[in-house]
Symmetry: C2
Subunit: 339 residues, 2 copies
Amino acid sequence: MIRKIIIALIACSAFASLATQYPITIAIHGGAGTIDKNKMTAAMQVKYKSKLKEAVDKGYAVMEKGGTSQQAVIAAIQVLEDSPLFNAGRGAVYTFEGEHELDASIMYGKTLNAGAVAGVKQVKSPIALAEQVMENSVHVLLSGQGAEEFAKRQGIELVENSYFDTKKRYESLLKAKKKIAEKLAKSKSIKAAYQQLDVKYKYGTVGAVALDQYGDLTAGTSTGGMTAKRFGRIGDSPIIGAGTYANNDSCAVSATGHGEYFIRYHVAADICARMQYQGISLQDAADTVINKVLVKAGGSGGIIAVDRQGNIAMPFNSSGMYRASRKQGESAVVKIFKE
Amino acid sequence: MIRKIIIALIACSAFASLATQYPITIAIHGGAGTIDKNKMTAAMQVKYKSKLKEAVDKGYAVMEKGGTSQQAVIAAIQVLEDSPLFNAGRGAVYTFEGEHELDASIMYGKTLNAGAVAGVKQVKSPIALAEQVMENSVHVLLSGQGAEEFAKRQGIELVENSYFDTKKRYESLLKAKKKIAEKLAKSKSIKAAYQQLDVKYKYGTVGAVALDQYGDLTAGTSTGGMTAKRFGRIGDSPIIGAGTYANNDSCAVSATGHGEYFIRYHVAADICARMQYQGISLQDAADTVINKVLVKAGGSGGIIAVDRQGNIAMPFNSSGMYRASRKQGESAVVKIFKE
């Protein structure tokens, strides 16, 4: 009799474990924009793809070992932050004044807790600081020197601002400033001078979204912002609802693109809202916002998203988006252009 | 024959004018929170109500003379910013360091254009600067010194930070710091020290929403933030989607309350999204978010909202919310407590 009960209990717990097991899933992006297929050498493509694969595999491995989607998102983003290839962390673009000001945010879909930082200059991993804000402060969004003072208290690694210097980004700044100066010589409108800048100066972000075996979603985004940005400009990346959103009732989204449009159309939260309130699929919600609403408004970029069933959506309305994804039991899929 | 055509044309244009005429409507708030009915003297209530009436009437008058909802929202908010009674502009609370850092945002529902500023110290009317960001910059959100540099270029009125000093708010800072220090003496957790602070230290905002005769919605919000705030904390007021949202397809919303919850639940945009995607009324959407979603999460505060039919919703889950509204052909209604 006791043996039968034990067998029943084991069977029952195995069933319960199966029933609550979600398919671990991760998707990442390294920015969207005018990635010119003809100008990008095969060697460069290999370089980008290899780093994207490393990041998505690292995040996946965290969850495979029982880690949470939050840990996976942090791990994947830090690989991209540490690489000079992407506009986040190490490869951050320059502000108009020749410095680097970084933004990041993270949101946990189980609790709707969130943390974000804007305009930090000395934090090696802005996504790690955003996580600290989420876990250990009563606030959601900290900015500037204040955010760095908080970073010091939390023992977050600080670096000199010059740590983020790269030759490639500096050349981009010089080109952007030249274009702005030329335009300003003809018209006094700073607005017009910035509007004519190619979207390649306005883009570049990294992000990750993940679903862990416990059924919890997380989204995170990190960026150096817009080349030659001025006036303490804050883009969509540290704005919960715009660049990042996660809710276990719908999905987790990380965005990349022309930030001002992503704020005005609160893109990340809107995709979640459409899914939840209209009862449509993740793919349909994401496609509608990126390829209809944003295209009509003139806002370019893309998003990565995952839902609780492990569905992935990665629409973008620009020529390319650095991206990778991995589903349970499968190997990583890495892409740059439309295919 | 010509006479008949002229009569037909006049009739037709009168009909078109009638058909496109929307009922001008405005609602404002001066903050929500623990407004203690027993501690508030009749004289104080008269003082608050009189200023709220002045603000709502001023905004209404702008639209009655043919002005837009955008002009009405600015006019109404500036009356509240100029009054020391409310935590915005003149009556802004103090930061932990004993300064004032102001935030504001505005959004125009016809174009979904938006502008916002965070952490400005010398701008007399933050809502006026937010409007300049919307109209004359390529960005949506500017912060700190950069935002002030932009203000100078746009000819926005600057004042010394001491312009915002008031005895009442300074006493609140001293009380809040004492409570924080007492808690920190027992535990090192800054998070816990701030969590125990009464909500009265976390509240106070002003805002306005309006519908003009052209059928266009605008929402705006302005605040001094949270008493004793630190680390460059940014609340929900300058966050498009959280503290402010406007879309002619749904509604215009301005929020006031514990900002961190309003960011995580992207309250303003969520009310618009529920209305648009679920096809429910403004009142139902607003009630659900404020009295169900936020109450369940533990987030207190309220919102004011108006839709394109001139419906007004003003739910709050705190003990009171300073508020006023006025509909076409009616006089102003001003309230503080639940009635």
